[in-house]
Amino acid sequence: MQSSGIQVLFEGANLSRLLGGLWVTLQIALISIAISAVLGVLFGIVMTSKSRVVRAVCRIYLEAVRIIPILVWLFIFYFGVTKALNIHLSGMFVSVLVFSLWGTAEMGDIVRGAVQSLPLHQREAGRAIGLTELQVYRYIIIPQAVRRLLPAAINLATRMIKTTSLVVIIGVVEVVKVGQQIIESNILNFPTASLWVYGLIFLLYFIICYPISLFSKRLETRWQS
């Protein structure tokens, strides 16, 4: 019987396997987003440094991450670095590493933009009432900057979730790989499996990313007024 290929999704443990694969994808995304959020804020603050050398080094890092496609970075770490250092890195580890490097750079740029968009007198007023440099950040810069950067940061998070679909190419067994396995093992019973499996994965990504981008859009409109 091959009349309704959609049944392949409900055959055996197929659906739960796909969801399990999705969880692997999400884990990579969530860990990298968490790391990027922390390191990105620090990096962003470093980027506003007065020292020209520090700023230039940050800039080079940011541009280098930006100009090379993420997939190439995954290749560099998965094939190149492992061979150069003669070590083995799992695809999962490389993914988290590359996504964190990328996320930190992008997040840093968002933070830098937000911090620099604050009027200078805010900082000066803080100093004038005798706050230490740390207190100026804690009570004046960060609370105001967060509002300006949060929508962009959430957008970055959805971009990272979407980009995690690439990790299948360096051999991580995640949702796409599981999907391919299901398609291959059902090729005789359900020749149209690929349509339904990829359709479902498409939908799953949408279900995850859409609410997040909706949330970011709402924050943006609310905080603009």
């Binding site: 090379i68 993420i70 190439v72 290749f75 979407k162 190419i169 990313c209």
Partner: protein, 223 residues
């Protein structure tokens, strides 16, 4: 580093770069057209079509290109829709890029002041003239930075095309690593190829951006 190896296989990279650029060119061009069309439909609140455009934008923005390509290339043939890998790549890229371009155009449209529209209407311009002479030129100059950023973004996204068996830069690099185990040589050529394509382009686009922003309303007073 085996330079002889690099010299021997440089041709493959040049060929692959040609393919990448060719597909990216058509993808970006179509993205711009789709984006402009969608943003106009939404801006003028054209019935039904503006809804369709909005749904399309959300669908395309919230799903990864890789999955879109897999669906087009491996899924659709099962219901009789056969598309060549190259066409899939261009369709996929413009499906993704269209929504990004639409958002950029939209922010440009929104930046055109209401007084501008009213001034146009008061001198009796028709809606088409208003669009052609008042809205588009000003919107365009505001959108340019994000349009060019999108173009670079789309060009980088082409690196995924190897997943649907197109012999692009990634594909060649992976092939050389698998066949000769020349990891460093292949990766260096890969990075060099992308830098050769992307660096001049991003510098060029930054220059274009500066030139076009000159047309922006209020530009002279802002400086």
């Amino acid at each position: 580093m085996d330079f002889e190896f690099i010299a021997r296989h440089a041709g493959q990279f040049v060929q692959a770069a040609g393919l990448t650029l060719n597909l990216a060119f058509w993808g970006i061009l179509l993205s711009l057209l789709i984006g402009l069309m969608c943003s106009l439909l939404i801006y003028f609140r054209v019935r039904v079509f503006s809804r369709v455009a909005k749904i399309y934008i959300e669908l395309s923005r919230n799903t990864p290109l890789l999955i879109q390509l897999f669906f087009l290339f491996y899924g659709l043939p099962k219901i009789g829709v056969m598309i060549s890998a190259q066409a899939c790549a261009v369709i996929g890229l413009s499906f993704l890029g269209g929504s990004y371009m639409a958002e950029s155009f939209r922010s440009g449209f929104e930046a055109v002041g209401k007084t501008q529209l009213e001034a146009g209407m008061s001198i009796g311009l028709t809606r088409r003239q208003l669009t052609r002479y008042i809205i588009l030129p000003q919107a365009f100059s505001v959108s340019i930075p994000s349009l060019t950023a999108n173009a670079i973004f789309l060009l980088k996204e082409t690196s995924i095309f190897s997943a649907i068996a197109l012999a692009d830069l990634m594909f060649v690099a992976k092939d050389l690593i698998g066949m000769y185990y020349k990891t460093f040589e292949a990766l260096s050529m890969l990075v060099a190829s992308y830098l050769i394509i992307l660096l001049p382009l991003s510098i060029l686009l930054r220059w274009v951006e500066r030139r076009v922003r000159y047309a922006e309303f209020g530009h002279t007073s802002a400086v």
